[in-house]
């Protein structure tokens, strides 16, 4: 019987990495990032990676680790604000960068995984993002053609998973992980809790195991970027 369960992140990436590859990495900020697989990707020594990820981590954590070692050739992201090393490499021309609007990036991943080559969206019409792209008018409104994205490998993080590769995410740590799981030619998932097949409620599964080639249980730091707290009731972010 096929076994998807690997003992650690390093072995889970074995045979899936090569220089010049593209990698989708789930997460929003540092929330729901595949911490262990990012470290394993760094330790694999693979170079010239194109990383598709909403953000680029922070200095010293998440994808910031792969920037430190200069393993990333290009980033496809919507927002890269919190990373000094990123800014340095970008401004010196060492790192390529392609900005996608966040919703367009999410939909490109969803489309890629669903076998859809392209789609028309109204996001970005009339902006730099639409330059050089085909546009089309539907019902009097202009839309721009965006393409589906597929990566050589996707690395995702879920809360619970079973040995079949079925995944359940938790709260806002879901974000880009489900679409990216579908859009990698290979997908490796890391989970906080790995259970026997049959222990998850089939109705509650967010990502069916068909998308997941390998699964590994990890321990997580779950760093927080902006720890905002209140002492009074009903205080909204300021």
């Amino acid at each position: 019987m096929a076994n998807k369960v690997y003992p650690d992140a390093q072995s889970a990436l074995e045979g899936f990495t090569f220089d010049g590859m593209s990698v989708m990495s789930g997460g929003f900020g540092l929330c729901g990032i595949p911490e262990n697989l990012i470290i394993a990707l760094r330790d694999s020594g693979v170079k010239g990676i194109t990383v598709i990820s909403n953000n680029a981590g922070v200095d010293g954590w998440g994808l910031g680790l792969l920037l430190e070692t200069k393993q990333i050739k290009k980033m496809v992201s919507s927002y890269v604000g919190e990373n000094k090393e990123f800014a340095r490499q970008y401004l010196s021309g060492e790192l390529e960068l392609e900005f996608n609007p966040q919703g367009t990036l999410a939909e490109r991943c969803r489309a890629g995984g669903a076998g859809i080559a392209g789609f028309y969206t109204k996001t970005g019409v009339g902006t730099l993002v639409a330059e050089g792209k085909e546009t089309k008018v539907f019902n009097g409104e202009t839309f721009v053609l965006e393409t589906g994205l597929v990566a050589d490998l996707s690395i995702v993080k879920a809360w619970k998973g079973d040995k079949e590769g079925n995944l359940i995410f938790r709260k806002t740590a879901r974000n880009f992980n489900p679409m990216m799981a579908t859009a990698g030619k290979k997908c490796v998932a890391e989970v906080e809790i790995l259970v026997e097949t049959g222990e998850l409620d089939g109705d509650a599964i967010h990502t069916p195991g068909i998308y997941v080639d390998r699964i590994v249980q990890g321990t997580f730091e779950k760093r927080i970027e902006q720890r905002t707290v209140t002492k009074r009731e009903n205080a909204y972010p300021v």
């Binding site: 729901g32 401004l91 902006q226 905002t228 209140t230």
Partner: protein, 215 residues
Amino acid sequence: MPWSRDQLAQRAAKELRDGFYVNLGIGIPTLVANYIPDGMEVTLQSENGMLGMGPFPHDEDVDADLINAGKQTITALKKTSYFSSSDSFAMIRGGHIDLSILGAMEVNDRGDLANWMVPGKMVKGMGGAMDLVAGVKRVVVVMEHTSKDGASKLLKKCTLPVTGINVVDLVITDLGVFEIDKHGSQPMKLIELAGGVTLDEITAKTEATFVNALR
């Protein structure tokens, strides 16, 4: 006296309606949540995948898996639901969100908005801003009327790369409120002045053309 940050948020809160689903941008727009009128039900959407955003947590309730789009720790409410980024932007792009309140660097009298990049400076990215302005039913901008060097931020033509064209419905600045007929041909209308601000002052500080429609 021009409006303060909190007064701007208070004024923007007047755009809320009972039952609205609302996305608030970072900065002054976030403060609007503090001025939701009592008895009015407004559901806040956070584009990283949450509908029904609650206030900041108490220290012991901080959860690394529960953040808003500004990456701040927050809390859930009874009505909260979570979803993926593609579902979140389907909601946004598909016109299911009633109102987006966001900041801006420049707006023109046709509702074009620039708020994501300054050429020559390190660009952080547009995040979800382009999707929000393209998809949300009504877009309200809250900003300072002029830049630090005194230049008008309400222009005939945006000088910075735009986030969207014909997207802004209402501009609330520290000097007054302007209505924009973004899909039509009506001129931009000045509909309110901040307390103590005169028509002469706001006219002198506004590069864009507008008509006086003060009520």
